[in-house]
Subunit: 422 residues, 2 copies
């Protein structure tokens, strides 16, 4: 329970580095035992967790926070069970540490292996969703990384109670309790210290939250960051699209959940089929209570369409609003995405394999799809089991960041006394 001593940020970094070293050596069984104990502790601590949550909820209500915010902050027995189940899912996933990623020999009979090892110490900076504490802590543990968690001040008591359950699980499995630490101050300076890397003790920062948090992290961090600033996701409906499929995919991509980063924000429609496709697509969106904005050509197809401005092509609505633009075929769609996209997730709807492959090759986003909803942009849907977030950077991890992406690697080279010639 060391994290609950009055620990300076620097000391916390050193403790995390120390814990990371022992964690890198921990066996899969030991890590899974800790995860199982964590899940059990959460379930056995329902009353404690709800009491801590009640303190945060009272403050939030006193501050007149919006209902949606209060709802996200609220724990219930069923949500606590959901967190515990999430940890058990991670326990059941394969251990990413020690994977042999590649192996080969050279003509002088040196045997090379590229082996996955943990990254080290990961700082997670998030807002007030209590479940991030459990998700991020358990993903870091399974991947052999120490975690420094810095949650929003509005969920302070809840996060602290959850962290206690996690740390007790570490202790029960004989692991260093400092493998998962929580920053005990709500000062913004603490975030600044984390972004500076805490004297080289933090290897990676993962922000989990809205655009302003991510923007601050990306602009100030002196260590690598896995994040996406926004998901301006596109669906392009090609001249060779199955239009019934296009309509269903668009509705799912936009409306399944409007607030997720993989939600479609802009639809690009090939001029060749715009007359046939657009009236149906616009009506379907309108029937689903989605506001439709469009360029002049799109507006000509329906009185339901409001005028889109240049700004609309750059906007992540995260709401039941969508922008539609008519384009002159796949290449103009690709150019639009290059100009306005956020390199997150785009999808082409077409029965023409050649056009699809062209789109898949040319679009420079982390995830490019053919005939599927952009809402599949999710580690679970990729088969990664769980994710700590989605990255749009170009280094190390892109797309969903799961357990494998939370590791790095080293080379093991086995020889028989080989000397390097001059």
């Amino acid at each position: 329970m060391n994290a609950f001593k009055d620990m300076s940020m620097q000391a916390m970094g050193l403790a995390a580095r120390h814990a990371a070293k022992s964690l890198a050596r921990a066996s899969t069984e030991q890590k899974n035992a800790a995860l199982t104990a964590m899940a059990r502790n959460l379930r056995q601590s329902v009353e404690t967790l709800l009491a801590a949550n009640a303190i945060d909820l009272k403050t939030a209500r006193d501050k007149d926070y919006k209902a949606a915010f209060v709802d996200r902050l609220t724990l219930t027995p069923s949500r606590i069970d959901g967190m515990a189940k999430g940890i058990e899912v991670i326990a059941a996933l394969p251990d990413p540490v020690g994977r042999i990623m590649a192996s080969w020999s050279t003509p002088n009979d040196l045997k090379f292996e590229r082996v996955a090892v943990p990254i080290g110490v990961i700082g997670i900076i998030y807002e007030s969703r209590p479940n991030v504490t459990a998700d991020a802590g358990s993903l870091c543990l399974k991947s052999g990384n120490a975690a420094i968690l810095r949650g929003g001040s509005d969920s302070f008591e809840t996060s602290k109670a959850i962290t206690q359950c996690l740390q007790q699980g570490l202790a029960e499995a004989g692991l260093d309790g400092n493998a998962i630490q929580m920053v005990m101050t709500s000062s913004r300076e603490a975030v600044g210290e984390m972004l500076s890397g805490l004297n080289g003790t933090i290897d990676l920062i993962v922000p989990r939250g809205g655009k302003s948090l991510t923007a601050r992290v990306q602009s100030e961090a002196r260590v690598p960051v896995f994040a996406h600033l926004e998901g301006i996701c596109h669906v392009y409906v090609d001249r060779d699209a199955d239009l019934a499929m296009a309509e269903k995919v668009i509705l799912n991509a936009k409306m399944r959940r409007t607030g997720v980063c993989g939600a479609a924000e802009t639809i690009l429609v090939d001029r060749a089929i715009a007359g046939e496709a657009l009236p149906k697509i616009i009506k379907a969106l309108n029937d689903a209570a989605c506001e439709v904005r469009g360029d002049a050509e799109t507006q000509a197809f329906s009185a339901l369409v409001k005028a889109a401005t240049e700004e609309d092509w750059r906007t992540e609505y995260l709401d039941a609003i969508i922008a539609i633009r008519v384009v002159d075929g796949v290449d103009q769609a690709i150019a639009h995405i290059a100009a306005y996209g956020s390199q997150h997730t785009e999808s082409i709807i077409t029965t023409n394999t050649k056009t699809a492959e062209h789109f898949l090759k040319e679009v420079d986003s982390a995830i490019v799809m053919h005939n599927a909803s952009t809402q599949f942009a999710d580690g679970g849907e990729f088969g990664f089991g769980a994710e700590i977030g989605i990255a749009t950077g170009r280094m190390h991890a892109r797309g969903p960041v799961g357990l494998e992406q939370l590791t790095t690697f080293k080379y093991k080279v086995r020889g028989a006394g080989q000397l390097r010639p001059v």
Copy 2:
């Protein structure tokens, strides 16, 4: 030949970004045609290159630079041919772009592929080795990345002449000449601008040079850096070592070339065999004109050993000097390496597979070897064909950085109209 216009750094960044987009689409044949033309242009421009080099050499001599520096700066017909051959080697390597790194399906029959794509724009900041211009430019081209080269002012005329040969090769293959640009000012501010990322147009910085250059780059860069600050490489001689092998490996690891980052700087010797091993190892090093420094125990074995101080364990000599310490078995060796090493390359000499595997697992360096010389720390020796440098960071690339490490990836997802359930 656009790079030789008076281009501001920001304009250079934009031109590189533009070139990177077309380069990402270039076929393997087109890239190889450019590389082949570059090699031919170098060979056909011997006189021009030597004339440009003569200007730099005159300045260097006027400034009374050391002979070793002048030698590194000097081009000869044979060195020009060596550069051309290096480019031809890169042309012959497999194209790393488009590699399918992984593929799988999920139960809903979505088909996932993880495909290699170029990183984008790479800034290379180096000192006065003219060959870096050709090496770095051609590695970036083959991996589909645009390069912004910033060489040392002492090799300005030489680098410019080499860059002209490379750009002519790009033009002959119909590629954008701005795919390889050279910074035409020798101001330090230009380096600062590159380290800031040139308004988001540079994705990665690779420094090639001494410790002070690398340290500046690592501390100031606002974009990812692939580099190692130093290579304090260790050889540990275990109680179960083949001592004849140990002696040969140590001599090679230290003396093959003392100035390379993979040269061994510290030898750790298991106390259990120190009495038998050390007198021979010390004599062999001394016979090879290597200065030996050691802890008190090592000194007791030979009058040839000078006293090592705490500072010696932290020193990358890059010279014919070595530090020796007696340790209490493999775990103390691992602890010494964790305390003093630079996470570059370490080797254990032992016939005991269990001890070797323990060392390979526990040592947290980019390259960990068993019964082999640390001087194998090189992309060519790894079978990568060529390298742009060696990285000791934990993100994206560790160890030798070859063509594959100069790529990132994206996910291609192929479906049949799948919608994500709520």
